[in-house]
Symmetry: C2
């Protein structure tokens, strides 16, 4: 470790994170929906920091910030995102951006290191307008028509309107220059409690799970809640509730060790207290890093729906509306993170899949990619109470910067 001093400035990292937290503060977290004023100010903040790291860049035509280096040698791309979920935490996104910035500040001016870290903030990772529109734009997977049709799920504003009012409508979208980068590294809070409950400091991500999403629709018969006897009802809401419970009872026998499933939204039609619901819909999601497990669970889901149909009281339709293949993280990136953890985190690391989606899964489609996690207190995220201990934030920064160095000099 003698020649391997990180020179990470932990105070500077924390100060940067607090500077971003001060933009769009909500309780102890932030509220920065994509293209909101606090989000745009956060992007400007990053643009103004880039020169300190020997980088130049601006906000592009889809709201990405990309800081490019003119230093010769290999380039490593690193970053995350700066918008937040609604009324959410201060670290989900900014942590990865500030780590990347710190790595660039440490590595880029260092003449002993051949190569540079380039910093990215990907727009809309949190999906206010779509799925990973910023990173997907960068890898060339977003057409103009996708932008035409994108709308803010909060208020229905079109993405075109949002880009225009942010003054970004006429800017080009920066796209990946093939061969420019040796790969992409992203840090993130774990958003789970595995690291914390095991006393570990660094998660080495092996893969990002796939997300399969379903719209499950129940059709019964709408009728008057006062005059229709219980015996003859065809209550779509009750059929849905029974289905939710059946999933919870039956999935455990068929799932993998880390499978998760969630019913995030339920809608009854017409939704009035005096009317028996004639239709009901649930949004249901399964996540696993093994497509075979997902396939088995989808078969079970469809078999369960067929059983309900057969009982004849309500009919059920299962529609898959999102299919996300798992993304494998590059083996050499995992090794670099593990070696850096040994050097700066006492080896308190664990290889683990990511249950959440991240921009790294998009970058992984065009270059080697890796991710590291730091612990989340109580496993909480997507909530304003989300937090990580200051010491863990600094340790994470040291491991991250060292992993970047190892990837550039290997």
């Amino acid at each position: 470790m003698a020649d391997n001093v990180s020179r990470v400035d932990g105070t500077r990292v924390l100060a940067d994170l607090h500077a971003l937290r001060a933009i769009g503060t909500y309780k102890s977290g932030v509220h920065k929906p994509t293209f909101s004023e606090p989000h745009l100010r956060s992007l400007e903040w990053l643009v103004q920091r880039l020169p300190e790291a020997g980088l130049a860049g601006d906000i592009d035509g889809i709201g990405n910030v990309l800081g490019a280096s003119t230093k010769p040698g290999p380039k490593l791309l690193a970053g995350s995102h700066l918008e937040s979920q609604n009324h959410a935490g201060w670290l989900d996104g900014p942590l990865g951006v500030v780590y990347a910035l710190e790595a660039a500040r440490v590595i880029n001016p260092d003449p002993k290191i051949d190569g540079a870290v380039e910093v990215a903030a990907w727009c809309d990772e949190e999906g206010h307008f779509g799925h990973f529109l910023g990173s997907r734009s960068y890898v060339g997977a977003v057409a103009e028509a996708d932008i035409d049709s994108a709308r803010d799920r909060n208020d229905g504003r079109t993405m075109r309107e949002a880009l225009a009012s942010a003054g970004l409508a006429d800017r080009p979208r920066v796209q990946a220059e093939r061969g420019r980068h040796i790969g992409y590294l992203e840090a993130h809070i774990e958003q789970g409690e595995t690291l914390e409950s095991s006393g570990l400091k660094i998660g080495i991500v092996t893969s990002i799970v796939g997300i399969w999403q379903y719209r499950i629709t129940f059709t019964g018969e709408q009728n008057h809640a006062g005059t229709t006897r219980m015996a003859i009802r065809r209550d779509a809401g009750l059929a849905l509730a029974r289905f939710c419970v059946a999933i919870d009872d039956r999935f455990p026998a068929s799932c993998g060790p880390r499978t998760v499933w969630t019913t995030g939204r339920i809608t009854l039609e017409p939704g009035a207290p005096s009317i028996i619901p004639g239709a009901a819909e649930m949004l249901f999601q399964i996540r696993d890093d093994d497509p075979a497990v997902i396939a088995r669970l989808e078969d079970l889901l469809r078999a369960m729906a067929a059983e309900v149909d057969k009982q004849g009281r309500c009919s059920v339709a299962v529609e898959r509306i999102r299919t996300g293949a798992p993304a494998r993280m590059d083996a050499s990136f995992q090794q670099a993170i593990e070696a850096a953890s040994a050097a700066f985190a006492g080896g308190k690391s664990l290889r683990m899949p990511s249950g959440a989606g991240h921009d790294a899964q998009i970058l992984a489609t065009i270059m080697p990619a890796g991710m590291l996690f730091v612990p989340s207190i109580g496993g909480i995220s997507h909530h304003w109470t989300e937090n990580t201990a200051d010491a863990d934030i600094v340790t994470g920064a040291e491991v991250f910067v060292d992993a970047c160095r190892r990837l550039l000099v290997r």
Copy 2:
């Protein structure tokens, strides 16, 4: 029956119902929310019909139409409502108004009958702005402050705005003149399938059930749907689904023969596909004509909630938000309907409670009240397919008019 000819004009009754169906037509039903243009036109239509029945009246300051007679002798009040649920049927409401109008047309000009039928259309029986605001205003149970705070559940428009734009803001509200009426009679479609499935033509309502309504709120922990292991989740939506199923499993052992219960609306917070719901709410309703049965079921509901609380994963709060005592129908009104059914419906009648609420329950708080039902095809109501056979509509009119005559001449 020789001196008991109804002189009901069945063709005229059907023509009137079709005239009202032609205002605000939706498929084979109507869409006439309270104070919508089609609702106001329907009220105007009724005002223009009143003189044919020897009545005079107008739309009052809450949207009621009241047709008064100057004929000496006893007065019987009769009516129903002209607005509809959204995208609903053509008979729910108009049937009772047109029967009342027909009774007035037959009885009021008849010098042999001492007394008159007065016709009412009560505003907002369907509860777009509140609960029975029209009939409650008439009996003196609506304060100006109640109107100030009433809003359209469809679009949030205040009742004051709706009254102003209908030109009703400055009109007085007509209130009941104590002692003027011998009672109130209302006809309605059954909205259930008891009459149809038994081959009967007339339901003689014994009581209108009470409606107890609850807001049941589940509190768990909002978290990320990808990173939070199943074992440690506190999913409020799943707790709600299990509670719905438990109600359905356990209520039958404690309920009465005609008790009904319904979960009409479910809301998960925040309602996003990738977030485990931290809170969930259901609107739940119990109806019975026996308060003791309701009390027993409410005890069970609270005991079940305490069991969920005790398991410790999610907490449950049960809040009663509406308490409606059952309304008994007057015995002499039931006898009059039964005698009229014997004369005009071959005695094919049944005494039965009403599972739905009606304006008659409000009028019953200040005068004797009665209701009769005609069959509903397939038991369907609050849906545009709602219907009753023409022959049953005409038979119902004959029984209704004869019951009015019997009540006036007794």
